[in-house]
Structure formats: C-alpha cells, structure tokens
C-alpha cells in the first residue's frame, strides 16, 4: 500500500519551517499504510558545503564481536577516500549506530566520489547534495525521527514515505526516498508499481548509471534526473515520464528548489492536495494533511495524468 507525503513552504521569511517535525507528524498519521520502514528527504537551508548521508551497515546485520570495530574501520576508510579524491572534510558525524552525515567541500564530479565511497565494504550513499538529506530506517516515523533527532531539522521542503514491503526485503536499501544517484539534490518517493522497470533499468544502465536497490521506484529518480541533466525542465521531464513509465503510480519528486507530483493515467493511487497561502501539502490520505494543518482547509484529489510543480 505505502503512503507518501510532501510539504513545501512558500512566502515565509526565507520559506523555512520545522520540516522535520511536520513530516514526522504527517508520516505518523499514515503509519497504518506502511509500518515497515520510514524515509525522509529533507532540504535544509542551502549552503556551499556538500552534505552526504551514508550508512556502513544495515539494521538487520548481526552484531558479532567485530561489528563496531568493522564500522570504525569502514568509517576511517570513507574519510580517507574523501580526502584522497580531493574533498576537504568539514565534519563527519555518526547519526545512528551505522548511519553517518558528512559535510565537505568538493569541486569535481559527484559520480566518481560516490562510486569510490560505495566501494568501501558495506557502504551505501543515501544522499548527496548541497541541501538534500535522506534519512531512512526501519520502524515508524516517531522511531526514526527520535533516532535521527529530526525534530531539530529546519528546512525548506521535504518528501517522505512509509513503506509496506511487498516485493523486497525490509531493509534500508528497500526503503524510500531514493536519491537519483549520482545527481545532486534529486529524490523521489513513489506509491505503486512500474511494469516496465527492467526495460528502463537496462536502458539507464547503458547510459552508465548504477542502481543501489532492486526497487522499481529508484528508476523514476534516475530517469528524471537524467532528463533534467539533458536540459529538460522538471515539469516537462515529469510529463514525459507519464508516457515512458508503465504501471500504476503516484510519485513525488524534489529538487533543490522544487517539489512536483505526477499521477498515472488510471488515477489508481491516491493523493490529496492542499494549496495554502504559505504552504503546499500533499499526502496519500487527508489525515496526514490534518496532522500539520490545524485550521479548516480545502483539499482535493488531483486527476489522472496530472503533473504539478511548486517552487519554494
């Protein structure tokens, strides 16, 4: 089933809000749609440092005697490799037992850097960008928010996802949102199934892209980011995706300053939308929107084949 949610602030002073807390409230209200794992793609205030979220082990991994030793060694290796490829590390913080947040200055191409880091045993780059930070883990929204201290996260916009695993394992690799590896600051959450996944995966692999998971949703992120890199505006790329992707889907996509939604031509997956004066909120269920809007609001379901994009 899965539940997706998105929020973008407008017209506020700097359009910044308590995006971590708001997204947690929305996702917790949809816990019944996906209790397996919860994921966030949060956009902090833009700065000139690159932010990389990565993990070095999975919560399902066994804790043998050398577990913490192995993590410490992998972490040192990641830091060494960042320096070696030319990045000036600002700081590396442990966000949980196995997930980390690194900030650094780096001028070169992102793909060699991400590839080089992922080559470390157990390492997976969850997100990389100037303001995008992807946090995903097992459990409901409150559990993940507490683990990663998301209440303190201030930012401009976000998407989130609660997952009910149907076709792959319950682990972090299978959880949404997906970062559009290796394009900075693009992420996607998706509710539905793609039926031409393998076709698109092969097609994108021939472009030189690599995929972190076996999940069909990941190709949406890479597909859109590739289209944008080819020069298309986000909205055009999304409209084209309705033609190119088969299956039933409602997806949300975020870039550094935009949030977009697209719904397939069957309108088979739900999405409720509220466009307020200073905020746009979307979610699979109205209850999630109510969790962040205290006053009485107007909301509606976008129609089939609709694509909408908001800028902050």
């Amino acid at each position: 089933m899965c539940g997706i949610a998105g929020i973008i602030y407008k017209n506020r002073s700097g359009s910044v809000g308590t995006v971590g807390r708001d997204m947690t409230n929305m996702l917790q209200a949809m816990k019944h749609r996906g209790p397996d794992s919860t994921g966030y793609a949060l956009y902090g205030e833009p700065n000139d440092l690159l932010v990389m979220r990565f993990k070095l082990a999975d919560p399902n991994d066994g804790h043998d005697f050398s577990y913490s030793l192995r993590l410490a060694r992998s972490r040192r290796e990641v830091e060494a490799r960042l320096s070696k490829i030319g990045a000036t590390i600002d700081r590396v913080e442990g966000e949980s037992e196995y997930a980390y947040r690194a900030t650094f200055r780096y001028e070169g191409e992102l793909k060699p850097l991400a590839d080089y880091v992922e080559d470390v045993p157990g390492a997976e780059v969850l997100s990389l960008g100037y303001s995008l930070e992807i946090i995903k883990d097992l459990g409901d929204a409150e559990t993940v928010a507490e683990q990663y201290r998301l209440d303190a996260f201030h930012g401009t916009h976000a998407i989130g996802h609660v997952r009910m695993a149907t076709e792959s394992d319950v682990d972090i690799a299978g959880a949404h949102p997906y970062w559009a590896y290796p394009f900075s600051d693009v992420a996607v959450v998706h509710n539905g199934q793609l039926t031409n996944y393998h076709q698109w995966r092969r097609r994108l692999e021939r472009y030189g892209h690599r995929f972190q998971s076996e999940c069909d949703s990941e190709i949406i992120a890479v597909y859109l980011a590739q289209s944008m890199a080819d020069g298309l505006p986000l909205e055009t790329a999304m409209k084209q995706s309705l033609e190119d992707l088969d299956g039933v889907f409602t997806y949300l996509v975020v870039t550094q300053d935009q949030l977009g939604m697209a719904k397939d031509e069957m309108a088979a997956k739900p999405l409720v939308l509220h466009e307020g004066e200073d905020v746009v909120v979307l979610a699979s269920e109205e209850g999630a929107i109510r969790a962040v809007m205290s006053q009485e609001i107007d909301s509606y379901d976008p129609y089939e084949g609709e694509v909408m994009v908001w800028s902050r």
Binding site: E265, P270, V272, E285, E286, G287, S299, Y300, D301, Y303
Partner: protein
C-alpha cells in the same frame, strides 16, 4: 474474539490504546461506547477529537438505538476513515469537518451532511438515505451505491459510481476518468466536465453531463434527452438547492456488449 492480542510494534513493545486487534484482525474488539455525547431530547452532540474510530461508531449506534436520539452533530472528525458506517436507522447526522476513506458506507436510511471533504469510497453500498458533501470527494465516490441520493457540491475523483446498482449521484463540479464504470442501474447528474472513459462498460443506468466529456468509454452512447429527464434533474436540484448549469447531455449503455461476439474484427472482415 476471546483472545485479544495487541498490535505488535517493531521495537517489541505493545501499543497502548488504540490499536487492539482480535485473532480475526477485528479492531478493538472489547471497545465500548464512551458515553461522552451531550444529549438533549432527541438531539445530541459528540466531540470525536479524543475518540477512536470504533468508539465514535459505537457511540453513534448507542445514541440511535438506546437513547432514542435522531439528530446528531459530530465535531472534530479529523478526516478519519470509516466514520458513520453501518447506520440502519432513520436519523439526521451532521459531520462538522472532513472524513477519510469509506465514510458513511453501508448505511440504510440515514441523512448525513458532511461540511468538509471526503476521501475515497464515500457512501459505498448505501441502501437508502441521503448523503450531502459540501466540498470535494475522492475517487470511487458512491461505489456500488444501491439507493438514496449522494450529493457532492464540489469535484469528485475517478471512477465515480463504479458498479452503481441504483440511487442518484449528483456532482456539482467535475468528475474524473471512468465515471460510471460498470454501472448497472441508477443515475448520475454531473454539472461540470467528465474525464476520459465516461460510462465504460456500463450495463444500464443513465449519466447526465452538463459540461465537456473528454471521451466516452466502451459501449457508452449518447441518447436523446426527454422531458422526464429534465423533470427529474429539476426536481433533484430543487431539493438540494443547486443551480442548474444549463443543458445536460444524456449517456446510456449501447448494449453491444450484452452478447459476446466471438469474432475478432479481422476475422469478421474475412467472413463478410
């Protein structure tokens, strides 16, 4: 039902209220009506803010069957799913706010007024009664409706009146794709535009559309409006205080799918 288990949490703890399920997956099997409604004569007011879905429905049923109340106002529904369902009494209920999915389903005889918006599958399988929604509705509005009037003053999503078997659905705004999909009886009056595939695979029944129709579905054809059609629309609009948007067009089943045709189009060409 004897064995009450608690919904397991991922971290190994058990949930406190609500979220209790029995072995069959029935939610909160030991819930009782909270008796928090304020009753005065035959009217009552219920604040649903702190109650679970099951408690709200139990309280509504208690008011109707035990307290002899016939007019209830529900405050703070907070867009929760499955509220005001399975009501089999003649009564008047006002829901001050919005509902989630499957609101007002399986009712027989109730008159329900929702001042907000509703999610998917509102009034599904209504046998008789009236449901009026002041704002928009999601997809599958009035699914398998069997009787009564369902009035949405705003827009509705896709597949309105799927499998409709009777009754009347009135939409003040636009309707999405596949409106009247597989409908078998009853009628829909749509004041705005209708999306692609209007009346796809309908068996019977009537669709009236005042706005543009994006495209017709399989075996749906336009028919001629007669006086009786206009009288019906005018009568319904008078009851609910709606303005008639102008001329309606009427769409019915073409009945070409009633008999299975074993010939593919290419074969037919060959044979004839």
């Amino acid at each position: 039902m004897e064995q009450v288990v608690q919904a397991p949490e991922r971290d190994g703890t058990v949930a406190t209220k609500p979220g209790r399920y029995d072995v069959r997956g029935l939610a909160e099997p030991d819930a009782v009506a909270p008796r928090t409604a304020i009753v005065s004569g035959t009217t009552a007011e219920l604040d649903a803010a702190e109650l679970s879905t099951r408690q709200i429905n139990l309280e509504l049923r208690r008011l109707l069957t035990e307290e002899g109340v016939s007019d209830i106002t529900v405050r703070n529904p907070r867009a929760r799913h499955s509220l005001a369902v399975g009501l089999l009494e003649r009564c008047r209920i006002t829901i001050d706010g919005s509902l989630g999915y499957f609101g007002c389903g399986l009712i027989d005889g109730a008159e329900i007024h929702v001042t907000g918006r509703v999610g998917w599958s509102v009034a599904e399988n209504m046998m008789s009664g009236v449901v009026v929604i002041d704002k928009n509705a999601g997809s599958l509005t009035g699914a398998a409706l069997r009787g009564g009037d369902l009035v949405i003053r705003g827009h509705v999503g896709a597949r309105t009146g799927i499998d409709q078997k009777g009754g009347t659905i009135i939409v003040g705004g636009n309707a999405g794709s596949m409106t009247g999909f597989m409908m078998q009886r009853g009628r829909q009056i749509i004041c705005g535009d209708a999306g692609n595939g209007l009346g796809d695979s309908m068996y019977d029944g009537t669709l009236y559309v005042a706005g543009k129709v994006a495209s017709l579905g399989v075996d749906c054809v336009e028919a001629e409006m007669i006086d009786a059609d206009n009288e019906l629309i005018d009568r319904k609009f008078r009851i609910y205080g709606l303005d008639r948007p102008g001329e309606f067009r009427k769409f019915v089943c073409g009945k070409q799918l009633y008999n299975y045709d074993t010939l593919e189009p290419s074969e037919r060409k060959l044979v004839l």
